[in-house]
Point group: C2
Amino acid sequence: MTESSRPSNSAPIGVFDSGIGGLTVVSELRRALPLERILYVGDTARVPYGGKSAETVTRYSREISDLLIAEGAKMIVVACNTASALAVPSIAPNYLVPMVGVLEPGAAAAVKATRSGRIGVIGTRATIASEAYTKAIQRRDPELSVHAIACPLLVPLIEEGLLDDEITEAILRRYLMPMLAEGIDTLVLGCTHYPLLKGVIARICGPEVSLVDSAENCALAVKGLLDSDPATELSPRLDILLTDSSEGFLRIAEKSLDLTIDSLSVRRVGN
Amino acid sequence: MTESSRPSNSAPIGVFDSGIGGLTVVSELRRALPLERILYVGDTARVPYGGKSAETVTRYSREISDLLIAEGAKMIVVACNTASALAVPSIAPNYLVPMVGVLEPGAAAAVKATRSGRIGVIGTRATIASEAYTKAIQRRDPELSVHAIACPLLVPLIEEGLLDDEITEAILRRYLMPMLAEGIDTLVLGCTHYPLLKGVIARICGPEVSLVDSAENCALAVKGLLDSDPATELSPRLDILLTDSSEGFLRIAEKSLDLTIDSLSVRRVGN
């Protein structure tokens, strides 16, 4: 890549997810890199990705990444575990800018955190079926045992705003109890929606289990990449593009994540 | 339309939904019209429709209807309440074959069933926000009072197969108790997924509340349209096209609805 074709360091960091979950990554990016411009795309016309096939998730991820590149993004942050697991390895080589997913940073943090050698992973049906976390963890240390379980009801509960609700807690207990019985001491929140449930999950797991927040670890990885070339202008922005209008979106973003949104627009993507 | 351009009476009835819910309509069609060929399209690449905008649901409905016409359907059955509420009125005039939604037959049956004049309606967020049921009921009788509530968690619970589960029952109680307190004597199951929960819903509502199954009433409307020109060949078939591969689909279709599927294929539609 020639210097002239490279986006300037004041270009936005492009971030995408199928819906609102990726805003947890934006929230962590804003904390780690307060001066950066961020352009977030939520593919709300096709949300959720978590139950769809690798082929379809890869096609959607490519279309959204192309949009971010067309908007001048200097980096693509895939703020969706399903897309990170199913699409990033195959599409990242097609782009001249770095593509950072949430999966590898989360796996690395889990390996660092565990003492018992037993790690739990929760995620969407597609993420868990891909076994991407298990492989990424055992590539780092083949001795570690990984207990992964799909939790397909959590995203709908979160999208409905039932963040602190007895029904959400009952469903979480059902998902988590078998894993806790296996003696895990580390739990990877393998979906960018799940940090919104951190309080309830911590209450169920108890203080002896470390929660690995993939949003937080992804933001640290992005910061590491940008530290040599940070944005210097003093005009941080958060611009949001959605592929379908979404009423609940703003409410959750502003209420639960305390994000200030500079612009929000809707644009059709794909054909 | 000239006689020569008209699909023959042995052409398939085209049926579509965003996912598996519309199979409840197929099940009722099969019962009412045992000799007909049925071609079902499930838009699993973009499921669900229930939280999306009218514009997006209309675009998706048009694309799927075009596919059914290209496959020679003699009629289009919109086996999705969200699409029936948001898209049918605007797109039906574009097609030369009849387009039958689930909403009008359900509204008519509810008006006929109520004695107290208080009708409850449950549906997706988009269906309820459109007020289409309230309007369709009050167009028939402006004196009737309609209590409509969005139940966005039911579709994910059904798609996960939690049809007879204490969590599903707890969520249903929360949605239904306020309506029952208002004295409804008729409840419209305004989403084609919901007949799969009929048992639990009947248990919560008690015998004094009539449940209006939009799938059943839609099938009767289709039968009424075809009675003058029924299929006479003795080769009923059910062919299914999905827009994304979907593992859970067949399992629920065969187990809960006792449907025999003659072919299942995956085809990309739109974006």
